[in-house]
Amino acid sequence: MSALLVPTLLAAFVLFNVINLAAFHTWLERKQSAVMQDRIGANRASIFGLRLLGLFHPLADTIKMFLKEDYVPPGGNKFLHTLAPCLSIFFILIAFAAIPFGNTLTIGGTLIHLQVANLNVALVYIFAMMSMGVYGVVLAGFSSNNNYALFGGLRASSQMISYEISLGLTLMGLVIIFGTLDLQEMVHMQGKYFFGWIPAWGVFYQPLGLLLFLAAGLAETKRTPYDVPEGESEIVGYFVEYSGMKFGMFFFADYLETILIACLTATLFFGGWQVPWLYDNGFIFPWGGAIGLSALWVSVLQVISFSVKVFFFCWLFMSIRWTLPRFRYDQLIDFGWKFVFPIALANLFVTAILVLFLGAGS
């Protein structure tokens, strides 16, 4: 019984948090862009006169989207038209199963891994799911019986193919250094320290890899600077024929992808759930002090640490999205193939040689 109960509860926990964070992103998007541009942002939705800084706007959006007409264009393929947003959001949601958000936790003699699926190929699994997500986008363009939507889908697919290769390559350096594809194992290895006090996070092994990963990862999210597939403001994208909650699912899938990239960045480059100098039984500071903590508090701190890192990267990605203008399409493909890809290859090559001569994990 508990063999089934625990993963179900974990999955429910992750799903609940991730979907709420995605809904929260609509609020964050409005408010952060407003604050960055010296505005105030949406703050009018209220319940009983209570406005709460516009936090009810995501709720209002959701109600609006559910109540809108769900329209399939005549000549469109109804089955594929309905399937596309479901695929889009399904694959991105199950990718979160492999993200470790904490170490193990023992409750009543049961050992719980704070990761929904403890896969030894977690990284490959996540990339596979992110690649599958493109099917939703391409099908959306294909089934809408609209040439603009079709072109949007084509732009999306060529962009995804260009950047997924770079995305994989940028992380191969880390895979060589850690010698594993298991994300939980990678996080464990980032719990070591350089010179006894600098946390051995991936960013110190692969600073260039981090920049390239961000460049390629943001392309995966299909948001500005890379929002050529959608281009809400002028070029119509693959979801031009979608309305109601089907559009909302595409909209959500974008935010979920942003969160996934934030989770990956935190996990791979910033130590995941590791808190600097926190060991199994409390803090041991390099300058001598120590704070004893119970195992439960250590787990809580680790989950909080992971959340804070993810929040920070969500904020950073939102800043990037509201700062940079969109790439022209040829610039986008040039940037992917002629800049990110060769540098990622060179980075991988140099890393491989260093690991060969210095030994892994040093």
Binding site: A34, V35, M36, D38, S319, T323
Partner: protein
């Protein structure tokens, strides 16, 4: 021979071409705005630094943006000392109005010194282009456009018709 002026394409320096430093600089600018504004918003919550605005937004229905003195806003009819309109129904404004949105019906004034007065004076805001010609044309200073009311919203076209009663007593400012 057409004179041709060849424009120099702005050349990017090497520093700008490698893209990442400029990218970081851009993000620094927006992040600085974000940090400054969010700090000010937080301080405002505690009632501090109220004189340093964190946003340039005017919360419109509650707070009206300051208007320039010469801004032409909704019309009003000026009154005599006894409260009757100064208008003498000379039809100057109705004649000059390019949008033909003023409708005046004249009648005899009981005072023999004054020739006429308006029985009806309607302005159709749905047609008005706010050119201010009526104000210029008026010989009696009977119509002005200085009420500072800038909204013209109504639920029907009929709702945009302003009658004399409304023009003589315009609501001052926005309804709370």
């Amino acid at each position: 021979m057409i004179k041709v002026k060849i424009m120099e394409q702005p050349k990017m320096t090497w520093w700008e071409k490698i893209y990442f430093p400029e990218l970081v600089r851009g993000i620094w600018i927006t992040s600085w705005h974000f940090i400054r504004n969010i700090t000010l918003h937080t301080l405002h919550l505690f009632g501090l630094c109220k004189d340093m605005p964190a946003a340039v937004t005017f919360q419109y229905p509650e707070v009206q943006r300051p208007l320039a003195k010469r801004t032409r806003t909704r019309h009003r009819l000026t009154q005599r000392d006894d409260g009757s309109p100064r208008c003498v129904a000379c039809m100057m404004c109705e004649t000059v109005c390019p949008a033909r949105c003023i409708y005046i019906v004249a009648e005899e004034h009981p005072d023999p010194n004054i020739e006429k007065r308006p029985a009806k004076f309607d302005i159709d805001l749905g047609k008005c282009v706010y050119c201010g010609f009526c104000v210029e044309a008026c010989p009696e200073d009977a119509i002005r456009m200085d009420t500072k009311i800038i909204d013209t919203a109504a639920y029907s076209r009929q709702g945009m018709m302003l009658d004399m009663q409304e023009l003589l007593n315009p609501r001052t400012g926005i309804k709370k």
